[in-house]
Symmetry: C2
Subunit: 291 residues, 2 copies
């Protein structure tokens, strides 16, 4: 997806939010803000918005001399998600349709996004967990995904955020007989999951963990490592979490399945949905206009 | 008021909204957006946010080759406000406290702001008129303003938006024995009132209309004409409408009385209020921290 003009004020807002999440220094905030403005005034809008974020966050890391400024919030997300996992697992197993229930919680976990949301909000987290029980989702799409999984052996699952990894694990538990590769980011970027977050969630018991070699939100294929691309190109099925991965992969040629919350009006327009919707879709559907 | 860092994403959003209100050309929108970003990356944040808007809107006027791109929306605001004026005048006259009721409608009219709000929204307008009957306002402040008006002969009333002028007139009708000067902008800027809007509202029957000589939202004294400054410095009482006038005049030495809606979180913080509040205050109260 290209960067729409409406993405720009949001990117500027995110830059300011980002630096404030990692530092109280208003001079640093001003410096990052001015850099983000200058960058956004020059950058090529045919590229996805994640690339603006990549440069902004690289600068935040450099100016704070902190290679992983979201470490504390990732730890909080991981620990909180892990603390609720046993009860949710029981609920999934006891439900009429464990796969559907696990898909619901996997999308609920996508709320753990600190690019768009500012700081930890327990109320927001709990409301999302509750929503997993009742939120409207497209059941035909759940069944289509179920059938696609049943038809293959080899699956690439591309992660989004730390903490969300715990909910991904609960979904992976519903695919016990598959060969799954779980891909995280290569380097810290916002609160996106790294290898350590996947291991914290116990993903290694259900999948081979790889990283994509990149330091950018979403999956910008041109930034990914050769070894990641090899897995990406050869996986029989690719399942992808989150909005940044949707933005960066929705126009890719190979078939991809997306599980995400809609968090902005641009993506909502792209998906014929509303901000707040939970979406299960595929690149074929998006590209054919079915959405 | 200086430009806070949080004002910047909002200014960028406003720049994009502004160009889209006056043109469908997305290339023009991109050009204005990029200029706004570049400008905001360089501008002195010790100055009020209105100065960023001034440069952005000058560029919109230049690039659209349209000296008054908000003319149509000002006409709509003027005509709609005038159409509801007779019924509101009757309500004011019949009320227990006509001055208070007129103050309420004068603040309700401050919703006619197309810098912050995108396009005409009849529902928003009607809701504001209804709110005039019941919205909590500080009655002690209403009475203080009433007493201040009673104690002077010579009043400068500084306008905000076109259409809001009609509601200002209804308030001026409650000060029949005063010498009132009503100040509008010198040149088109967003949908701010010009001389023609004041005349359309019939202000000339109740006040001497002057312009401030400036092409900037609010009242940036360094941009105002000598003749305006003469009136400003010598008026016994100054009453000012709207948030941009508050932003640009709240730290001025001479006593000023403000009537405005709070439309952003920065002003809300400054006034110990909430976005959406209706405020009657004075520079003395703001500067002393009473607010």
């Amino acid at each position: 997806m290209r960067t729409f003009l409406d993405c720009i004020p949001c990117q500027i807002q995110q830059a300011l939010q980002a630096v404030r999440q990692v530092s109280d220094d208003e001079k640093l905030a001003e410096s990052i803000l001015r850099s983000a403005l200058f960058l956004a005034s020059k950058i090529d809008y045919s590229k996805p918005p994640a690339l603006i974020g990549r440069e902004i966050h690289a600068q935040i890391r450099a100016e704070t001399k902190n290679n992983d400024p979201y470490a504390a919030i990732k730890k909080k997300a991981n620990e909180t998600a892990l603390s609720v996992a046993p009860a949710i697992r029981e609920e999934i197993i006891a439900s009429d349709d464990p796969f559907q229930t696990a898909v619901r919680y996997a999308i609920a976990g996508n709320i753990l996004d600190f690019a768009l949301y500012n700081g930890w909000d327990d109320d927001r987290f709990q409301k999302n967990l509750q929503a997993a029980r009742s939120k409207p989702i497209n059941l035909a799409q759940v069944n289509e995904l179920r059938d696609k999984i049943a038809a293959v052996q080899n699956i690439l699952f591309i992660a989004d955020n730390a903490g969300e990894t715990v909910f991904d694990r609960l979904l992976l538990e519903q695919m016990p007989d598959k060969d799954i590769t779980y891909a995280v980011k290569g380097y810290p970027i916002i609160n996106d999951a790294l290898r350590e977050d996947a291991i914290f969630a116990g993903i290694d018991k259900f999948a081979t963990i790889i990283d994509n070699g990149a330091d950018c939100a979403g999956t910008v294929l041109s930034l990914c490592s050769r070894s990641f691309m090899d897995v990406f190109n050869h996986a029989e099925l690719v399942i992808v979490k989150g909005q940044a991965n949707f933005e960066t992969l929705c126009n890719t040629r190979r078939p991809i399945n997306f599980l995400t919350q809609i968090k902005c009006s641009i993506i909502a327009r792209d998906l014929n949905g509303e901000v707040g919707d939970w979406v299960i879709t595929s690149s074929e559907q998006v590209q054919s206009g079915q959405k």
